[in-house]
């Protein structure tokens, strides 16, 4: 299969969905003429014009709310937030408005809005351009949240998000934008709420989020040489969370490690670990281990940032400790 980059897969998803559905519009800062700061919207303006690819002022609350209103009136807006860290200035329109309108309106209304943004650390972007805040959004009933871990999943999850009648958030990982992978040329959707077991294994289940999926696979390859057989599950979406795939796996492997780039405290890993102990306690040979970032803002210095973000070595160390603790 042909290989394209993570960001090209994103652009292609929009290019193809917009061709099949006239109601899809793209709204955001510099998404039109300029093609997006990450070139994620490259070519859309030329193909679909300013009517469907709309450059806005720097008014995240305003244009996200505009997307909510447009969605309520029959469009399928894709609203881009550029950096995930900017969610704070727009949050009311997401968690109080988009997420609750259907519920508050007695079900008569849908808000088929997709919010796209780029999160994650590793580019020395500093404390306000590097965060992983997905747990905030996963906590809000009414929202759906995806963190694609590969070029293939970016395209499928974007199509799934845009076709979904609920408000969805697709959080790209900035450090993966140039990562190549096999991506089918045709249009395909990955539904929200279906985890992907990316590596089969028998000894430990590693549940990973976003860019921690490829890091976990690297760790699993390293551990295989040491005779530890790791199963890696990509949650794909943190809301809804595919609990059954996770629990089924843990019941087979009897050990679980949860990995994400966000700070460990109050992260989505806490929810996953809690569900595992509630639903599969009797199958566990060891406590569920969480691996995440320390409780600090994301540092700028490349040296500090490298120490901050979990990587394959930390994941492998965690798995080894867990196995040693419980006996292989």
């Amino acid at each position: 299969m042909r290989q394209i980059t993570y960001v090209q897969a994103f652009t292609e998803s929009l290019m193809q969905v917009m061709a099949e559905d006239e109601d899809v519009v793209v709204i955001g800062e510099d998404v039109g003429f300029y093609g997006g700061v990450f070139k994620a919207f490259d070519g859309l303006y030329k193909t679909y014009g300013e009517r469907r690819v709309v450059d806005t002022p720097i008014s995240e609350m305003g244009f996200l709310g505009m997307g909510v209103g447009a969605a309520a009136r029959g469009l399928r807006p894709v609203v881009d937030l550029m950096f995930f860290d900017f969610i704070g200035v727009a949050l009311d329109q997401l968690y109080n408005q988009a997420a609750k309108l259907k519920y508050m309106f007695g079900g008569d209304l849908t808000v088929p809005l997709t919010l796209t943004t780029a999160g994650g650390a590793g580019l020395s972007a500093g404390p306000q351009h590097s965060q992983s805040l997905e747990a905030w959004l996963a906590h809000v009933p009414g929202l759906k949240v995806a963190l694609p871990s590969s070029a293939h999943d970016v395209k499928g999850l974007m199509v799934g998000a845009i076709r979904d009648d609920n408000p969805t958030v697709v959080i790209l990982n900035k450090r993966m934008l140039g990562t190549k992978g096999p991506v089918p040329e045709e249009l395909y959707a990955i539904p929200f709420g279906q985890a992907n077991t990316v590596r089969r294994g028998t000894d430990v289940t590693v549940v990973a989020v976003g860019r921690m999926v490829p890091e976990s696979v690297t760790a699993a390859t390293e551990l295989a040489e040491a005779g530890i057989d790791v199963e890696v599950i990509d949650v794909r979406t943190v809301q809804p969370l595919d609990s059954s795939t996770i629990l089924d796996s843990v019941r087979r492997t009897n050990r679980a490690v949860v990995v994400h780039e966000a700070v460990t405290f109050g992260g989505i890993g806490a929810e996953i670990a809690s569900q595992i102990q509630e639903e599969a306690f009797d199958h566990l040979d060891a406590p569920v281990l969480r691996i995440g970032a320390p409780f600090s803002p994301v540092p700028f210095s490349p040296v500090l940032e490298k120490a901050y973000i979990p990587d394959s070595h930390r994941i492998a160390d965690g798995v080894r400790q867990l196995v040693q603790r419980s006996g292989a």
């Binding site: 309520a72 519920y103 007695g106």
Partner: protein, 332 residues
């Protein structure tokens, strides 16, 4: 000055429009008065932000709009819903938290909506609905229709970011939006002079390159005539504008008697009540021999009857079933 210039504008408006304004205001007034009594009597749960006193604004604007035109409303939203044509039965049912209510008992007073008449919802967040109106206007133009969008908001909301971002967006995109500010002089309990230095909220429109008009919000005819012009301009593709209506709420920010904190003088309240929009319109219609007192009184009587029926419908309706707690959180 000529004689015609002194003529009451009420004589220049079609008689059916005057009756329409009159009836819409009475429906709001009685809906709210009775809702207040139900709350005072402990028959109704939750918060209640009564619209009484501001009826001329909702009625005057709404007469100029069709069902395809969209409005967004505020926490003080009953008046807008009633004036846009919402069913009083479903409104009361919602206030009672019943399954037959507009939100199936999931929203309450601050979330009444009716998509079938272009009422895109009251909103519990100050300024929260304003961007939705901009989006509705965007969708309208995108789909090639000529419908307009009207966000209602207060003087207090004119200080919030959502208002300013929305005003700038609508202006720079030249969207068919008429921003209607109901300036009732208070942001909750804080008088306007303490929350902004400008005397007129409408002055803020200029900073977004948008025309604005100020109107007496106790004069339904004046609101109607001005709104009609601004709505027509928006519909004709001339971009957004702002209408500021100077008005007053008779009751407290929340509830009927509120916290009894004396943040307003009785003299101030009485002076506004002395300019009551419904009484004023009736006097002008009778004075100009456009309607008889009996004819106008009949509207009150008919509406009272309708309200009694609507309350009965609401109160007698079934409660939501706790087994359905998760209904409508997501679309399957």
């Amino acid at each position: 000055m000529t004689e015609t210039a002194l003529e009451d504008p009420v004589t220049t408006v079609a008689l059916e429009v005057l009756h329409d304004l009159h009836r819409r205001m009475i429906r709001i007034r009685l809906f709210e008065e009775e809702a207040g009594k139900l709350m005072e009597g402990g028959r109704m749960p939750g918060f209640l932000h009564l619209y009484v006193g501001q009826e001329a604004v909702a009625a005057g604007v709404m007469v100029t709009l069709g069902v395809d035109d969209v409005i967004t409303s505020t926490h003080r939203g009953h008046g807008h819903a009633v004036a846009k044509g919402a069913d009083l039965r479903y409104m009361y049912a919602e206030l009672f938290g019943k399954q037959t209510g507009y939100c199936k008992g999931r929203g309450g007073s601050m979330h009444i909506n009716d998509l079938s008449i272009g009422m895109l919802g009251a909103n519990g967040i100050v300024g929260g609905g304003i961007p939705h109106a901009v989006g509705a206007a965007f969708a309208s133009r995108y789909k090639g229709t000529d419908s307009v969008a009207v966000p209602f908001f207060g003087d207090g909301a004119s200080n919030i970011g959502a208002f300013h971002e929305s005003a700038n967006l609508a202006a720079v995109m030249r969207l068919p939006v008429v921003f209607v500010c109901e300036n009732n002089g208070y942001a909750e309990f804080t008088p306007q002079a303490k929350h902004m230095l400008l005397e007129n909220v409408a002055d803020r429109a200029a900073s977004y390159g948008m025309p604005s008009e100020i109107v007496d919000g106790m004069d339904a005819v004046a609101v109607y005539l001005t709104a009609k012009r601004l709505v027509a301009n928006a519909r004709a593709g001339q971009g957004p504008s702002m209408l500021e209506a100077k008005t007053y709420r008779y009751y407290d920010h929340q509830g009927v008697k509120g916290l009894r904190t004396p943040y307003r003088t009785q003299e101030e309240i009485d002076s506004w009540k002395g300019r009551d929009a419904i009484t004023a319109l009736e006097q002008r219609m009778i004075g100009a021999e456009l309607a008889g007192a009996d004819e106008l009184r009949k509207v009150w009587d008919e509406t009272r009857h309708e309200i009694v029926e609507a309350i009965k419908f609401g109160e007698d309706s079934p409660d939501p079933d706790p087994a359905d707690l998760l209904d409508n959180v997501y679309t399957a």
